[in-house]
Symmetry: C2
Subunit: 316 residues, 2 copies
């Protein structure tokens, strides 16, 4: 079993690129396996080391993730790179444990309403699935860490506002179930920076030595303000997708995840070394954009570049 600190060193800022997973959840087109390999290779060359690259879901319904095993192999072939994949049920978990994946991502909804609508199970059943995942992983002697995201943690497309106490109750249950990392997800982009600071700070306090991650969407324009607040509060693991790819079926008209390139810039302006080169990252974006005609790619850095005449560059 991997120790979580091997993948997420304490205090170091880690940016997880989720474009090949969350980014492809709803797109009309998706890249070929070869293009995905190139996407990963270019991002790796730019300094990216944490890749969430697919889901263990039925290939008939989610053809974009049919090559999840190849993607895990691709990431594994890059020294020091870490692969993460989503599993939503026992079947997916078992499939994941047949691979070399470094991190298995599970999801629990913050609200009962969304849990039932999205996963057709109660939140308590979802927590038990995480407990089972930790036990099965242990029994199999598999190295993967278990990352459990709490979706709709900052607001729910169905239930509306979410009581922080409900989120903290889930955090405690998930820690008790054995999750290695807890993630707070603003799935539909309801959050503001104060709310992010409050929820992140309290979750860090509950998690103690275990890391937490923050997954933000830019639906209402506050994604990077929220990321800044999360960093200020002590969060060190943040999700983003190349070009802000990805959306949510519960947030029509919404932009997707926060933009990976812009998040790199934010972190660097705040003095957090990301080890990621923005110029090199642009090459990955080119491949992604060319492979998905008609999909919207977002991002200010991709358009304006880093500040000119300042000698600015990421801390590679």
């Amino acid at each position: 079993m991997t120790r979580v600190g091997d993948i997420y060193p304490v205090e170091k800022v880690v940016l997880r690129e989720v474009g090949l997973r969350d980014g492809l959840q709803l797109t009309k087109t998706f890249p070929s396996t070869d293009t995905k390999r190139e996407w990963i290779a270019k991002e790796y060359a730019a300094g990216v080391r944490h890749f969430e690259i697919g889901s263990f879901l039925p290939a008939t319904r989610f053809p974009q993730f049919a090559d999840v095993r190849e993607m895990i192999e691709t990431v594994t072939a890059h020294p020091g790179a870490h692969s993460a994949a989503l599993t939503l049920n026992e079947r997916g978990l078992k499939d994941a444990l047949q691979t070399d994946v470094d991190e298995i991502v599970c999801v629990v909804s913050a609200t009962e309403e969304h849990s039932q609508a999205n996963a057709r199970r109660s939140r308590d059943d979802a927590v038990e699935l995480v407990r089972m995942a930790c036990a099965v992983r242990e029994a199999a002697g598999h190295k993967a860490i278990i990352n459990t995201g709490i979706s709709m943690a900052f607001g729910c497309s169905i239930a509306g506002s979410v009581e922080p106490a409900e989120v903290f109750r889930l955090v405690e249950k998930l820690l008790d179930a054995g999750a290695d990392i807890i993630g707070l997800a603003d799935t539909v982009g309801f959050a503001g920076p104060q709310q992010v600071a409050d929820l992140t700070g309290q979750t860090i306090a509950l998690a103690g030595d275990q890391p937490i991650s923050v997954h933000l969407h830019d639906t209402r324009g506050l994604g990077l303000a929220n990321a800044s607040a999360a960093l200020d509060t002590g969060a060190r693991i943040l999700d983003a997708s190349l070009g802000g790819l990805g959306g949510c079926p519960f947030a029509p008209g919404a932009t997707g995840n926060i933009v990976f390139e812009d998040l790199v810039f934010l972190c660097e302006t705040k003095g957090f070394a990301t080890g990621i080169d923005l110029d090199a990252l642009a090459a990955a974006r080119e491949i992604a954009e060319a492979s998905m005609p008609g999909e919207d790619f977002f991002g200010a850095i991709a358009r304006a570049g880093p500040p000119p005449n300042t000698g600015w560059r990421a801390s590679v």
Copy 2:
């Protein structure tokens, strides 16, 4: 003479809508005088009270500001609304003092290079122009307050990085010259939230009882993160433009000011009452968009709306 506190009450967050000034600086088209009146009326109905509505510049070169006097009259006709207009030289100042304008905006560049290139004068000469403006205003017994913006305060399109000490030196000189408000402008969108916090905090300390304002552009995606940092540091006056209208000749490809609607949302999530209704603001945006075909209007709230099912609304 108006006391600055009459226009900018201490501790209350004030959002200045600069769409009809900074927003029109570079657009290819601009609204008719009647449409501008409607724009102001709709914004006023939504709760906006601070309008920067034009520049005293030669109408031959800047036809979009030829009706600046009518705009001042329009704002003045709305009870409790405040008008601000830009002046860049002695002639403009004298013209402004012939009107009922509540606030005269002057600009000093943070760097010598930009000052010479943009205004063809030294920074010291620009400071002396502010001193003269304060004296002439005083002698005329005119009510207008003098707001002096420091452009390029966070980075310069020509000189690159800007030493904070240079900005603080200008702040002190401008206070000595009699400016009622000092503004810090990220004219080309170089700033990150830490830099905004550092510069804003120190400027507030220097300004003492006098208010400061922060003028941000969203060129590199950090506009709202920077606004959030400015609010956290104690700034209470922020500029923004409807739909993020406006750009800068020194920042090609750049989006303009931070988006007024999104800034309202940010403030409200942070517990700062803006008194501005987002639904009503959308009516102003409709008028603005219809009057300027081909211009880019930005904004996440305009696309996604405030969080649904939460009973969310601005604090009107």
